[in-house]
């Protein structure tokens, strides 16, 4: 997730832009750059840490400028691919976060007109496109260029053609105006300017904003000026990294509407009805492997269990899921197996050891990780990024749902490559994926209700989670979340397994969380709930909005809005995360840093 800042005012822009970028570094980055207009437009960009880049930047005088931190997704980590990007006349500079879906045809047109490109990014076309549209009115050129691009973006622009002005626009990527005194700001997030002003106007999709040192003008997509209210930010710089949330975990739970979008970004084309990974990943998935071995630890292991369900359902290729610490010593190292490692940090010691040994025994390896440049990405043959931005809460939340979504995409792509899925079915899944963010937002809006139910859980000493099919690993993950942050002993079970042992542990004080989805096993779940109720244990059901039957069988119901069985497990995960969060919060636990746990386990 890239970070963006723009400034116009009375102060020297350089320190303000650099400071703003540092405040955005939680978004993760691999390169950074600035453009400042003094007597003329000057740009400096490089690969590396801002603190290092800062020392190398020459003195750049001027009180207007833009800055960018890049988290590479398209085009390698190089100085040329870092932002800002310039137009051919070097008078206009842009920074961009997101993806321009139609950049290929636009680039071809611009190349024909003689524009010269210096990077491999999609972003660069924006600068050339504006330049191409410019006939004397720069603002009109910005409007015209923005109208031509398709995709998700937040863009900030400065130009010698428009002295004193900074332009910004967004679609499906964040951009906020900071309204200051004799100065104004545009940034991806409020912490970038909070030191200088606590008045913010978040822009909405399709809006275009022009700021000068003393004016802020916002237009809708039809160039009509809008009146928008300033919001007063009451949290201070100390809370800034948490964006006003009391814990990183809650912030990260709420980010999932965005991270799911990030996973799909650039990989899912609704228009062409296709799924795209990088060529080397696609080549790997197209090979004729007889089986897939997925190895992981902790939460990633549960994501892998969901992945197994998806891959087997869509491709009929047998999948074996193993814990890295077990597979390493006891697994069958079938040379015809493709080994997929799932690790958030890319540094998990056991998982990396598996990757190394797999390579030694001639297996192909693929890693799904959140951190570009991590050890796992260097060891494996190829990697897929979950593109979720850094996760600071020790309990994995957004990276878990990102991993599941990535595995679903991988299953879909493999099915297409191995011709086990009809194109029409692929399209149906693409539409369902597109709806996912909306369903998650819907669940987040039920936060208060989930908090109420958490009161019934907070005094328990033990709790059980049950589910069937794809919901079984979700039950395991739900239990893991509860135990790791609230310290309540919690176990997940396949619902059918209860009567083979765990039922003996049930008392009237043992809440059971039952995931009841409208699958072929619905009636079996109801029967299992009956077995539990017979022992007097309170049951909290997780059920679909449309389910009118469930109330008759359980004590409490938490509803979720999804109607697609395969992907509903992601929406249910968000619900269970909130349930664990509120329970831990009610018990007064240290949510972001649970006792005895570390974020990335780099020991074996």
């Amino acid at each position: 997730m890239c970070g963006i800042i723009g400034y116009t005012g009375f102060r020297e822009a350089r320190p303000i832009l650099l400071d703003g970028l540092k405040r955005l570094d939680y978004r993760g980055y691999d390169s950074a750059g600035l453009a400042i207009i003094g007597t003329s437009l000057k740009v400096y960009k490089d690969v590396g840490e801002i603190a290092t880049i800062e020392k190398k930047i020459p003195a750049m005088k001027g009180t207007i400028g833009i800055g960018h931190t890049r988290w590479a997704t398209h085009g390698g980590v190089t100085k040329e691919n870092a932002h800002p990007h310039l137009s051919c006349d070097k008078k206009t500079a842009i920074v961009h976060n997101g993806i321009i879906e139609n950049f290929q045809p636009l680039k071809e047109t611009l190349l024909k007109k003689g524009h010269i490109f210096t990077s491999q990014t999609d972003s660069e076309i924006i600068a050339h496109l504006i330049d191409d549209e410019y006939t004397g009115d720069f603002q009109e050129a910005v409007f015209a260029a923005v109208a031509k691009i398709k995709g998700s973006y937040s863009i900030v622009i400065v130009s010698e053609h428009a002295p004193g002005k900074v332009f910004g626009t967004r679609k499906e990527s964040p951009l906020v105006v900071g309204v200051g005194d004799n100065e104004n700001f545009l940034a991806s997030d409020i912490p970038a300017f909070l030191k200088y002003t606590n008045r913010a106007i978040p822009l909405d999709d399709g809006e275009l904003c022009v700021i000068t040192h003393n004016t802020v003008t916002i237009y809708d997509a039809h160039k009509k000026p809008l009146k928008k209210k300033e919001e007063l930010i009451t949290w201070d710089i100390k809370d800034a990294e948490k964006s006003g949330f009391p814990h990183f975990m809650l912030k990260e739970i709420y980010e999932q509407t965005d991270t799911i979008h990030q996973v799909l970004r650039g990989r899912l084309s609704e228009i062409e009805e296709t799924i795209t990974f990088t060529p080397d990943v696609e080549q790997l998935l197209a090979t004729n492997f007889s089986t897939l071995h997925i190895v992981a630890c902790g939460t990633s292991y549960y994501a892998s269990l969901v992945g197994k369900y998806y891959i087997e359902k869509l491709t009929n290729i047998p999948v074996e899921v193993a814990l890295a610490s077990e597979y390493r010593y006891y697994g069958n190292h079938n040379p015809n197996a493709l080994v997929i490692a799932v690790t958030q940090s890319g540094e998990t010691a056991d998982t990396i050891a598996v990757l190394k040994e797999a390579k030694n025994s001639g297996q192909h390896t693929l890693v799904i990780t959140n951190v570009i440049g991590s050890t796992a990405t260097r060891v494996a043959d190829s990697y897929i990024l979950t593109q979720s931005g850094p996760e600071i809460g020790v309990a994995a939340t957004k990276t878990f749902t990102a991993q599941i979504t990535t595995l679903f995409l991988l299953a879909l792509k493999t099915a297409t490559l191995h011709h086990t899925l009809e194109p029409a079915d692929t399209y149906t899944y693409i539409i369902q994926l597109k709806d996912l963010s909306r369903h998650i937002r819907d669940v987040l809006q039920r936060n208060d209700q989930i908090n109420t139910i958490a009161h019934h859980l907070k005094d328990a000493t033990s709790a059980f989670y049950i589910g069937r099919g794809v919901d079984y690993p979700i039950a395991l993950e739900g239990a893991l979340k509860l135990k790791e942050i609230s310290y309540i002993h919690a176990e997940g079970f396949a619902a059918g397994e209860l009567k083979h042992g765990p039922l003996a542990l049930l008392t009237t004080e043992t809440p059971v969380i039952a995931i009841v989805t409208p699958s072929p096993t619905y009636d079996k779940m109801i029967a299992n709930i009956g077995e539990i109720k017979a022992r007097g244990s309170p049951v909290i059901a997780i059920a679909e909005d449309k389910d009118t039957e469930i109330d008759k069988h359980v004590d409490y119901v938490l509803r979720y809005p999804c109607d697609t069985t395969d992907l509903s497990c992601i929406v249910i995960t968000v619900l269970l995360q909130l349930l664990a969060y509120h329970t831990a919060n009610l018990r007064g636990c240290s949510i972001d840093k649970p006792r005895n746990l570390a974020k990335s386990v780099t020991v074996e």
Binding site: R11, D181, N182, R199, L232
Partner: protein, 401 residues
Amino acid sequence: MKCVILAAGEGKRMHPLTYSRPKVMLPIAGKPIVEWNLLNAIHAGLKDFLFIISYKSEMVRDYFQDGTPWNVKISYINQGKPQGTAHAIGITETFTDDFIVLCGDTIFGTNDIKNLMKKGLKIGVTTIEDPSQYGVVNLEGDTLRAIHEKEPNPVSNIINAGIYHFDQSVFPAIKKTQKSLRGEYEITDSINMLTQTNPMQVVHLKEWRDVVYPWHLLDANEEMLQKQTPSCLGTIHDKATCLGPIVIGTDTTILPGAYIEGPVYIGSNCKIGPNCYIRPYTSIGDYCHIGNAVEIKNSIIMDHSNVPHQNYVGDSIIGQHCNLGAGTKLANLRLDKNDITVTLNGAKINTKRKKLGAIIGDNVQTGINATINTGTIIGNESFIGPGAIVTGELRPQARIW
């Protein structure tokens, strides 16, 4: 000529009152400290103001807006992270040429500001009893030689008062200024450099009221109330008694049996009485209720607070939205008549006052018959239960039973 008013500071030594407002917005005789400065500067002939703001900046901006209510122009600069007076003045470079700078939390007089405005670089100074906590000035006739900050054995009793007349020549000196030991860019260091090349004339101030700790507000309140012109925009019942100079705001009602001895300030929309005794040097904000059998003396009660039944409030400050339970009393005198010592931010301070009640933050509620001892500090949003006896320093959100 532009007037730069430094209004960015939080004022940690003014806790708990500054948890919810910047220091310059603390009310004295019905107006924020900085408004007294604004009014005096306007009387001196200044019309163009630049406020340097940061901590809770929206409160300053919302109150003063663009200056229209005062028929002057007010604009703002956000200092960002406060890094000292030199930093604050330094960021005004592109907005100023020949200008006055004054500290918004010290009250300066109209005539003194006029003298500062005369041609040439100037610095305001004043003579005080204990200069150890201030910058002592070293003079040669009426010319400043140097300022020595907070020295244990000061060379004189004359101190830097915090008001200056500068021009563009100050900015090169500010740029050369290094961080001081306490990690800030101090304007006194810049001035010591500036005077090497550009002599600064000294102006001895006639009026100067500095407020550092909360109880200093009571002294400033007393001084400003003595100067106020009586007026009444509210309703006084004919069975109420009003003596001496009193200001009463619009829609305030003084009910029968209220006995008010000026100088007293009462804001708008208040209900005073019936049957209460308000003694001299009391300032009451807007939307307050002072009820039956209540006695208040030498105190500041801020907006939306109630002192409703059988209370005694002496030499005290009560924040906004507070409510005292029936019978809650605030003691203001030790039985041994010794100086009252206060614990503020964990440190003990002798206030050198024989009489001091409580300093109470915003949104504090007390129960019936709560007893609050001399020099007690009560943090915001605290609850004092019925019959509780409170003393010392209470952190915000304290619960005392």
